[in-house]
Amino acid sequence: MPCRLWPPINKEDYRGVWVYLEREGERLKDVGLELLGKARDLAQKLGGVEVAGVLVAGGEELAREAIYHGADKVVIIDNPDLKIYTPAEYAEAIARVVQKYRPEIFLIGATKRGRELAAYIANTLATGITADCTALEIDPKTRDLLQIRPTFGGTQLATIRTPQRRPQMASVRPGVFPKPPRDPSRTGEIIVEKVEVAKRRTRLVSIEKRLEKDVADLPPVESSDVVVAGGRGLGTAEGFKLLIELAKLLNGTVGASLMAVRAGWAPHTRQIGQTGKTIRPKLYIAVGISGAIQHLMGITEAKMIIAINPDPHAPIMENADYAVVGDYKQIIPLLIEELKRLKNQS
């Protein structure tokens, strides 16, 4: 006899792979679209089931955008009260809709808001949830979702199942899965669901953008093909200026280790790793970064890694395609000079 607090379910009643589509104002966050791509892949492995998205208080345009990125169906939760985000109310509304449609799998982007919602939704549905998965597979025998996540400081990879409950829930950080291409010829169904929520117990009073000075007028790390990142080994904020110059010459952007962020040389939005961004660039250049496991976790999907470090035994050197042994202060300026020369030639 399973736990009596788990309402009995019939697993066969649960079909489809669903994704929470998080909004940022009037646009969809990329992570929801990335998850739609993964959802399509899982849906195919489950025998071609439906892929759907849930959107709270968003317009049809956004729903269509999700369809262009792989959704067969989008449910818009229509309640003017929910235009404004508050955690418990959002989580309850989302759980209500998921309950009604009974997907087999429900995925959530592990943004800060997503992390705030995910576990509450799971509890409301009396199901399990696995945080920050880096891979998702299907066990063809049981149709179980294999929820794979790094744990214990990134030293171990755990495979987690939810054998008895449905939906199976997982959260995934932004940037872990690639964003599927946009196909405006795709069509799908848009359903509007009126969902009432209980009396509000959380009220938003105000929002303020923190004025955070970025180091450079450069694209975000998660959307660049080339990322030049700096760590504590740069020694000074001046070091970052060199990296910015190099990044610009390579049409890329700059990133940072936690230590460089702590030193105040770059804002947290540029931090790469377990508690920062997961990135998948074509080229990652790590300058003055030791390559602690928490940092490596953010760059495993990089196609090529070049590390510049005087210490040949730094972990980053063991995990690089090209381990350049040396002082960045000597190498980077020369490299910049050479790249400029090449540019002028062409």
């Binding site: 736990c3 955690p87 418990a88 989580a91 800060k112 705030e116 919602l117 995910a118 509450y120 509890n123 409301t124 199901t127 399990g128 949830i129 920050d132 294999l146 790094p150 744990t151 214990f152 400081g153 030293t155 171990q156 990879l157 755990a158 495979t159 987690i160 199942r161 939810t162 054998p163 008895q164 117990r201 959380t202 009220r203 938003l204 009073v205 105000s206 929002i207 303020e208 923190r210 390579l250 804002p267 947290h268 939005t269 377990q274 080229l283 496991i293 495993t300 090529m304 890694i305 063991e318 995990n319 690089a320 090209y322 381990a323 350049v324 042994v325 040396g326 190498i331 490299l335 050479e338």
Partner: protein, 264 residues
């Protein structure tokens, strides 16, 4: 203000981590445990509220008896008393089953709580689930990533920071409520040795005999998720070509590589 702080006796270092080969869960018996670093922020936050508004701060943890020293040092920090929910039947719990025990312990032993404060996440499992799940069990509202709060009657006005959007938000939350404290936002006060010495007197240990929870709904059996496998993390193979020499030669090689890999 009656404040319950959820704290986890966590494995402090990845080198101290041992996995039970049968269940794939963390071995916590016989491993030195210390309070999860981010929970110290939560404790500090609660103590500051008590300093301002008076009341009582109660630390709550679910752990084997090896979690007692962690609670002793929280008493040393100034926590009034602590409750340790400890029973073999709780072992192997996932976050659902853990939050279940925490919530039921609160309902039974601190029924008149005003606020539950959790750390943002733990360093050894980093799920950030427990705060939200405890709120769900208790049926109360919740807000994450809080770094400041003010009490206005039965309402808590909280300021929180969303790191990925770079914004601060202010919310009013009806109490009782659950909040999680933004990690790194507090400077935890020191542990007073004189207080820590007698700490054991202030720790109440409760087992499932007192809580009376259905054995099917706690521990490994009461966990909807199941660890099906554990493998050391490996990373995709890299070329590992070492480049050394005088800087001008190194740069020449780098440019060649950038060209051959199609970056230039």
């Amino acid at each position: 203000m009656k404040i319950v702080v959820l704290t986890k006796a966590a494995v402090p270092l990845s080198s101290a981590i041992k996995i039970d080969p049968k269940t794939g869960t963390l071995v916590r018996e016989g491993v030195p445990l210390t309070t999860n670093v981010w929970d110290r922020d939560a404790v500090e936050f609660a103590l500051k509220l008590k300093d301002r508004y008076g009341g009582e701060v109660i630390a709550l943890s679910m752990a084997p008896p090896s979690g007692i020293p962690a609670l002793e040092s929280l008493i040393g920090m100034g926590v009034d008393r602590a409750i340790l929910a400890s029973d073999r039947a709780f072992a192997g719990a996932d976050t659902w089953a853990t939050a279940h025990v925490l919530a039921k312990t609160i309902e039974k032993y601190v029924p008149d709580y005003d606020l539950v404060v959790a750390g943002e996440e733990t360093i050894d499992s980093t799920t950030a689930h427990i705060g939200a799940q405890t709120a769900s069990w208790l049926g109360v509202p919740y807000v994450y990533y809080v770094y400041d709060a003010e009490v206005k009657g039965r309402t808590l006005v909280v300021r929180r920071f969303l790191e990925d959007e770079g914004i601060d938000e202010v919310y009013e939350v009806d109490m009782p409520a659950v909040i999680s404290v933004l990690k790194g936002s507090q400077i935890p006060r020191e542990v007073k040795l004189s207080r820590k010495l007698n700490a054991r007197e202030y720790i109440q240990i409760v087992s499932n005999k007192e809580l009376g929870l259905d054995p099917e709904c706690i521990g490994l059996r009461g966990s909807p998720t199941l660890v099906a496998g554990m493998a050391p993390a490996t990373y995709p193979p890299r070329k590992k070509v070492v480049i050394q020499g005088v800087p001008s030669e190194v740069v020449k090689k780098l440019v060649e590589i950038l060209k051959s890999e199609g970056v230039l």
